[in-house]
């Protein structure tokens, strides 16, 4: 348990900048083949990986800026609009409400890891449009008044220096961090910016207003110590007449956090406006659309992996950054094995296939999907496929081509299906596109129960509803330009036209079917009801209204489309080339440190793979590392462990091997130093791992901290 503190902290601190950190360590070193050598092939794979990732990353970053565009624009606008009538000079004359600090409460979700990114974007945005003066504060370095003041003033003053690189070096260190200093500095810098002789370097500064506001961003408001925050706000409000200050609160939870921090006397100094950032789920689905649901990138995730990443996102942290990291990691892994070679653009791929030698081909032939494919062929062709490299290469090329075309069709249709079903009651195929997608990845979607239910519901749909969903489908589809897609659009539109055309004529008939469904759903109470309802419906079957006929036709058509275009990729030959399905990812993405340590200690063989450590029925071989032995022994003890007994047991065990030469018995009374030393080391290691800790309750005893294994 106790490890939690440190473990979690560790995960915590590193999360934000992790995205960048990955790129630093060079993947090239990581790409080696089985023999551990770095061959031509590995280099090629590495390069493809890097190129692919670069593009993907670019897209993601672009996304990340415009996902928050709306709220950011509002916020920036707000900041710009504050302090309209501000001007230095006469202090006394300012209007009544001017001791209220304009404050923007930006409610970011609870996904802490992403916040770093959000705020750096916001800052740069502000600096481009409104003001050069932005200070970012984090709770961790604002523990006292002194720190917060100096932090703010440093940031502003430094800013000045880097803004207009003049000769005068203000050693901010010496300056006592007080508001008057800031006032002096601000007045001065405003004067500079107005002074005509501007060096060309400060072009962008001209875009700012005459009095650019001083923005102070508090990234994690919840974390700030209440007293400090209160005093800081009070001070700020004192100087509003001389400094156009603006606060930005980053609030992860809810606005009430402000009230838990500030008493009325302080909160009345704020004039807050609330801004709601996009929920990270939104952001996530965007990312998925951009990266996974597009033909732009050959690389795909297999069902298990995809689901895993989703779970981590939904169950643990709403952090998109982590999701992306997972994605990247999967990619890395994928390119680590040979198939990754072919996971690239058509031309390159073809040439590579051509260039393949026999060994590599064999590797691909081994893939299960390909074998399945071969088995379907006639014996003659089978032999060729297995022996004739030339032909195999051609087959590969064509197969991969098919795969590509599958993708080009798959995604539009997927969207179409989603549009069709997402509105249905109880969402048989999921509310979000990603759920549907993972279904498709798993198996042929039309075999799933959800699909059947969905269609049953659709078959009961009233006319106008149907029209509307079809309309949505079309909208979705129009996003794509491929010829086949447009065919589908045509098809659907004609159907819609027909639906309209059979307008009033079928009106009265179609009354019934419209309410039928309602009845069907409603009274499922008594048995005989059920029976005669069935009879009814049987009668119904006989004479279908025009509308129903048409509806069935449409749905059959769509069903057909889905069946042709949405087979699970796992059924397609050579899908291994694109789809990363290895589920070892869980171990990396969702680490269980404690479990790992316990396995390592209780069953060293698991990691060391040393035959001598193979132990049956959980007995400890004396060859095991000391710490393991000590651990095993301590498991048998109670809350308090007597060190001496422990030592004895330890010695016994270690000697148990050479019991026959009678050394053990003689040693019993006096333990030799080496053993003792080893024991002590083992114990201290255990303490370091947090299994035991010294206690004052009893002399020569240590307290045990963990119970049961999990």
């Amino acid at each position: 348990m106790s490890t939690s503190g440190s473990v979690s902290k560790a995960c915590f601190v590193f999360k934000p900048k992790a995205g960048k950190r990955k790129k630093k360590l060079n993947p090239a070193d990581y790409f080696v083949d089985e023999s551990g050598a770095r061959t031509e092939a590995t280099r090629a794979r590495c390069e493809t990986y890097q190129i692919l990732w670069e593009d993907m990353n670019k897209d993601i970053e672009a996304l990340q800026t415009d996902i928050h565009k709306k709220v950011f624009d509002d916020l920036v606008g707000y900041v710009g609009s504050t302090h309209p009538g501000f001007c230095l000079g006469e202090e006394i004359q300012h209007k009544v409400s001017s001791n209220e600090i304009p404050t923007a409460a930006l409610v970011t979700g609870v996904n802490m890891p992403d916040h770093g990114m959000i705020f750096s974007n916001l800052t740069s945005l502000l600096q481009d449009n409104i003001t050069p003066y932005v200070a970012r504060l984090q709770a961790k370095d604002c523990s006292a008044m002194k720190n917060i003041m100096s932090k703010v003033i440093m940031q502003f003053m430094d800013n000045k220096e880097l803004l207009d690189d003049d000769d005068d070096e203000v050693q901010v260190k010496r300056i006592s961090p007080t508001m008057p200093v800031l006032c002096g500095w601000y007045a001065d810098s405003v004067k500079r910016s107005q002074s005509p002789n501007k060096s060309p370097s400060k072009k962008r500064k001209t875009s700012y207003g005459q009095y650019p506001p001083l923005v102070i961003v508090m990234e994690d408001l919840e974390g700030f110590p209440a007293q400090v925050l209160q005093d800081f706000i009070i001070i700020c409000s004192q100087y509003l007449s001389r400094l156009p200050l603006v606060l930005v609160f980053g609030i992860a939870t809810t606005v009430t956090a402000v009230h838990t921090l500030l008493p009325h006397s302080v909160s009345s100094l704020l004039c807050m406006e609330k801004f709601q950032a996009q929920p990270s789920t939104e952001y996530l689905s965007q990312v998925i659309n951009k990266t996974l649901l597009s033909t732009k990138y050959p690389f795909k995730l297999g069902h298990r992996v995809f689901q895993l990443l989703l779970d981590i996102f939904l169950y643990h942290d709403f952090s998109v950054v982590n999701f992306i990291r997972g994605l990247q990691f999967a990619m890395l892994e994928h390119f680590f094995n040979d198939l990754g070679m072919l996971c690239c653009g058509v031309k390159l791929r073809t040439s590579r296939i051509r260039a393949m030698d026999h060994r590599e081909l064999e590797a691909i032939r081994k893939t299960s999907s390909f074998r399945r494919y071969v088995e379907l062929q006639k014996p003659q062709e089978q032999r060729d496929l297995l022996l004739n490299d030339k032909l195999t290469k051609d087959v590969f090329i064509s197969l991969l081509k098919d795969l590509d075309s599958y993708h080009t069709m798959c995604y539009p249709i997927l969207h179409c299906l989603h549009a069709l079903t997402c509105g249905l009651p109880r969402h048989p195929l999921g509310k979000q596109l990603r759920e549907l997608y993972s279904l498709v990845l798993e198996s042929n979607v039309w075999e799933t129960q959800g699909y059947k239910d969905a269609f049953n519901l659709l078959r009961l749909m009233a006319r106008d509803d149907l029209v509307s969903v079809l309309g949505q489908c079309v909208e979705k589809l129009e996003g794509w330009t491929e010829s086949d897609v447009s065919d589908v659009i045509m098809e659907v539109q004609t159907y819609m036209a027909q639906l309209d055309s059979l307008g009033d004529g079928s009106q009265e008939e179609q009354e019934e079917p419209e309410e039928r469904p309602k009845e069907r759903l409603s009274k499922t109470t008594k048995l005989h009801d059920l029976q005669n309802r069935l009879r009814e419906s049987a009668k119904q079957k006989k004479k279908l209204t025009k509308y129903e006929v048409l509806r069935n036709k449409i749905l059959d058509y769509l069903d057909e489309i889905f069946r042709t275009h949405l087979p699970s990729p796992t059924t397609l030959p050579l899908h291994e080339v694109y789809y990363y399905r290895v589920s070892t990812l869980r171990r990396h993405m969702n680490a269980a440190p404690r479990a790992a340590i316990q396995t390592a200690l209780s069953n060293p063989y698991y990691y060391l793979q040393d035959e001598t450590l193979k132990s049956e029925d959980g007995t400890i071989p004396n060859t095991a590392p000391d710490v393991c032995i000590a651990y095993k022994l301590h498991l048998e003890c109670g809350r308090l462990i007597n060190l001496y007994d422990w030592l004895q047991a330890f010695v016994m065990l270690v000697h148990s091997g050479e019991e026959n030469d009678g050394a053990g018995t003689s040693k019993q009374n006096k333990v030799d130093e080496v053993l003792q030393a080893r024991f002590i080391r083992a114990v201290s290691e255990l303490q370091f791992l947090g299994f035991i800790k010294p206690t004052k309750r009893k002399t020569d005893h240590v307290a045990r901290l963990t119970w049961g294994g999990c």
Partner: protein, 456 residues
């Protein structure tokens, strides 16, 4: 006790005139203060202590006296001075008319870090400025903070006149009564003056001063009257009421803009504004709406229901999205901190007997209901145990789970209560309220009430 022809205080009449006009309905106090200060070549009352509720115009009156009459002074807010050193610097800078600026590269008048130096320097400055004749006014706002500084500071300031041997007048402004300042030795009783809160009429007078352009004063007066009639009971803080008045005025004028009413038919306007004010009353003191946003809300809110809903959303009662396991962790934390540990077995063990409370138990719990006394700290193990017993399906204790605990702590939904040893001493508390908790629990349809000892 009318303020006689002000000239006797040695100040030009017109200055006094606009001084009086700038502090409406504070005439008596202004007169008293002026009297105490006297002509600036007179010895003036060495120590004055002004107390009164916030927004009763203490600092406003003083600063306008000092500024309009151009008296030599230093005006310091003690909140700024988190060290005594800063206090000295601020005062000396102002007395010596030094403002930190690039040309003196942001240095103070002189370095001074104890009372002794301060007094010396002050004297020298006064002599340099040839102000021995004049009175030097030193105003310390939020004076209650002085008590937290070194114990010699407050008494020393109270007899600054004697210590410097100059004609210094120290004015302390605070919300807190003088009795709470008496501590330690060397204290020297100041002259205590009370700034009473404004009466309804005074408020009316003051508020009417900031009548927006384009409307007659009487009209605005009538509006302010309405506002006061609603809010006066709830809050008498000038700033708050002023804020509210300005906030709702556009709404008030709406019918006029629409041409449905004229400034005359007050009744119509009243009927129109009244419900909005009532709503605003619910959020009085909570400044969650800047006037701009408030207007937008009112626009958006055709019917009152939706507008009230809007307010709700602004007060942040809307459910906050948490990751799935975090929700359960939070629930577990809540249960752990609001249930006595001994009851866990009853709640979380299968077929543990139904819980019955005896009468005297009931009585006892009435007193010491944890809903009243607040959350109790609990060790991590207990949290995890409860978590595992309420969460469905098997969850591996991965790093992700633990990191969620710490992120809950950083979100201040839980707090870690002091523990010296990190190993097994770590204890936590759950800091969220019941209704919030219920809304969270509802999203994972977990009936939390059934698990709370207080509701058995």
């Amino acid at each position: 006790m009318a303020a006689g022809p002000p000239t006797v205080f040695g100040h030009p009449t017109e200055q006094l005139a606009d001084l009086y006009s700038s502090c409406p309905s504070r005439h008596d106090l202004v007169t008293q203060l002026l009297a105490l200060f006297g002509q600036n070549n007179h010895l003036s009352c060495p120590r004055v202590f002004l107390y009164g509720p916030t927004g009763s115009g203490k600092s406003h009156v003083i600063s306008s006296i000092l500024n309009t009459l151009k008296l030599p002074h230093a005006l310091v807010n003690c909140v700024e001075c988190y060290t005594s050193r800063l206090l000295y610097d601020h005062i000396l800078n102002q007395v010596a008319l030094v403002t930190p600026a690039p040309d003196n590269d942001y240095t103070n008048y002189s370095r001074c870090d104890n009372m002794n130096d301060f007094v010396k320097t002050l004297r020298t400055i006064i002599e340099d400025r040839e102000l021995q004749e004049e009175t030097m006014y030193i105003v310390l706002d939020k004076a209650e903070r002085l008590r937290e500084m070194d114990m010699n500071i407050l008494p020393a300031f109270l007899r600054l006149g004697e210590l410097t041997g100059c004609n210094v007048c120290v004015v302390l402004l605070t919300e807190i009564v003088w009795e709470k300042f008496r501590a330690g030795t060397g204290m020297c009783e100041p002259l205590v003056l009370h700034f009473p809160d404004y009466t309804k009429d005074e408020l009316l007078e003051i508020l009417s001063s900031d009548c927006p352009t384009g409307y007659t004063k009487d009209f605005y007066m009538s509006y302010v009257n309405i506002v006061l009639s609603v809010f006066y009971m709830a809050c008498r803080n000038l700033n708050e009421i002023r804020h509210l008045a300005l906030l709702n005025f556009p709404k008030f004028c709406e019918p006029i803009k629409k041409g449905e009413a004229t400034e005359e038919d007050v009744h119509k306007l009243w009927r129109n504004i009244e419900p909005h004010l009532r709503k605003a009353l619910q959020t009085v003191y909570l400044r969650e709406v800047s006037s701009a946003q408030w207007e937008r809300m009112q626009e958006g809110a055709a019917t009152q229901e939706s507008s009230s809903a809007n307010i709700k959303t602004l007060t942040g009662k809307v459910n906050m999205e948490l990751p799935f396991y975090s929700k359960f962790l939070l629930i577990a934390a809540y249960l752990a901190s609001y249930n006595p540990a001994r009851t866990d077995r009853r709640f979380f063990l299968k077929h543990a007997g139904k819980m019955k409370k005896t009468v005297q138990q009931m009585k006892r719990d009435e007193r010491a209901s944890s809903q009243l006394l607040g959350p109790k700290p609990f060790p991590l193990d207990r949290l995890m145990a409860i978590f595992y017993s309420i969460v469905e399906g098997k969850v591996a204790p991965t790093a992700n789970i633990y990191s969620q605990i710490s992120s809950l702590v950083t979100l201040r939904l839980m707090t870690q209560v002091g523990s010296d040893d990190q190993l097994d001493g770590a204890k936590f508390k759950c800091t969220v309220g019941l209704d919030f908790m219920r809304s969270i629990a509802r999203t994972v349809n977990f009936d939390i009430i059934r698990y709370l000892y207080d509701f058995v």
